[in-house]
């Protein structure tokens, strides 16, 4: 068949072929849902047309600022509160270390009490006697 666009393929005018070309292939479902009826309307489908409202589609409404999901908001806040004590600031660590060392050095600066130097000397002298 000749048209102004040239020669059309012979199967183009055959009804079966036409249907095959037009029909969209969709996975078989037992009962097509309302949504799929809209999306994949077939030739003989005379079902009532349903708009997005009837189908339950809603627009993606923007929530007012500051009023986001309260669950989410508290979740992030408590996460922050939990995370805070896990990492101490350098200044805090330094001060803790200072206090710790000050407490420790107080004892260290007392030197060796006589009790221990005597003990070591005594052990040493007794050791010398044993070895002689």
């Amino acid at each position: 068949m000749r048209t102004k666009f040239g020669l059309r393929p012979p199967y183009y005018d055959q009804p079966v072929a036409r249907q095959r070309y037009r029909r969209k292939k969709v996975p078989f479902r037992e009962e097509p849902s309302a949504q799929s009826r809209v999306l994949h309307r077939t030739k003989g489908d005379t079902g009532a047309r349903l708009g997005p409202r009837q189908l339950g589609w809603t627009m993606n409404e923007r929530k007012p600022a500051g009023q986001q999901n309260p669950m989410e908001a508290t979740a992030t806040r408590s996460k922050k509160a939990n995370a805070k004590p896990a990492k101490l600031g350098r200044d805090v660590q330094a001060r803790l270390g200072q206090q710790l060392r000050a407490m420790y050095d107080e004892v260290v600066n007392q030197g060796v009490p006589d009790r221990f130097s005597d003990l070591i000397n005594r052990l040493e002298s007794s050791g010398k006697k044993d070895s002689q």
Binding site: P85, V92, L96, Y104, E106, V107, V112, F116, L123
Partner: protein
């Protein structure tokens, strides 16, 4: 028991920090001194097992720590019935040594779990490296690191410290200072 002069000096040099460690472990000066004495006796009796050239204080710390652990376990069984009384006596002990300004800090330190406290003291005060502290406590380096970290965090919590400004003069002193400045 032959003892080198250098060994004797090394032992004597380690005694002050050994005492400080013992006091911070058991929070009682008298008991700590007993602990140090027993440690020294044990160490000098087994001086042959000390490898020359290695860290003498780390060796002594290990002995002291192990001795404290075994003694502490025994004592805990003994004092279990009079737990409250024992805790009271421990609490009042820190006043025996040192100033009042550190009392709060000592009390907070005493509340830490024993393994965290010793890790913090070994690394934070005695100046041992993480590796040396791990050797003294007989555990992995990572364990020491996490214990030190947890100890610091807990200490800050107990002292209600969130920043460095929370240290120093208490509320009333600060108020007086502020009013006097104006």
């Amino acid at each position: 028991m032959p003892m080198d002069e250098s060994v004797r000096k090394a032992v004597l040099a380690a005694v002050p920090s050994l005492r400080a460690f013992a006091i911070s472990l058991c929070g009682n000066v008298d008991r700590a001194d007993d602990l140090v004495q027993e440690t020294l006796l044990r160490a000098l009796a087994n001086i042959d097992s000390f490898q020359p050239g290695t860290n003498m204080s780390a060796w002594l710390f290990t002995i002291l720590r192990n001795h404290f652990r075994s003694e502490y376990r025994k004592r805990r069984r003994e004092v279990e019935d009079s737990e409250g009384h024992h805790a009271e006596s421990l609490k009042s002990q820190p006043d025996q040594y040192g100033h009042v300004e550190f009392r709060e800090f000592r009390e907070a330190l005493a509340q830490l779990p024993a393994d965290q406290r010793e890790a913090l003291i070994l690394v934070g005060a005695s100046g041992f490296s993480y590796e040396e502290a791990a050797g003294i406590c007989g555990c992995a380096v990572g364990t020491i690191k996490s214990r030190v970290n947890r100890a610091r965090t807990r200490l800050a919590e107990l002292l209600h410290v969130n920043s460095a400004e929370d240290f120093g003069p208490d509320e009333t002193t600060r108020a007086v200072l502020a009013s006097g400045g104006e």
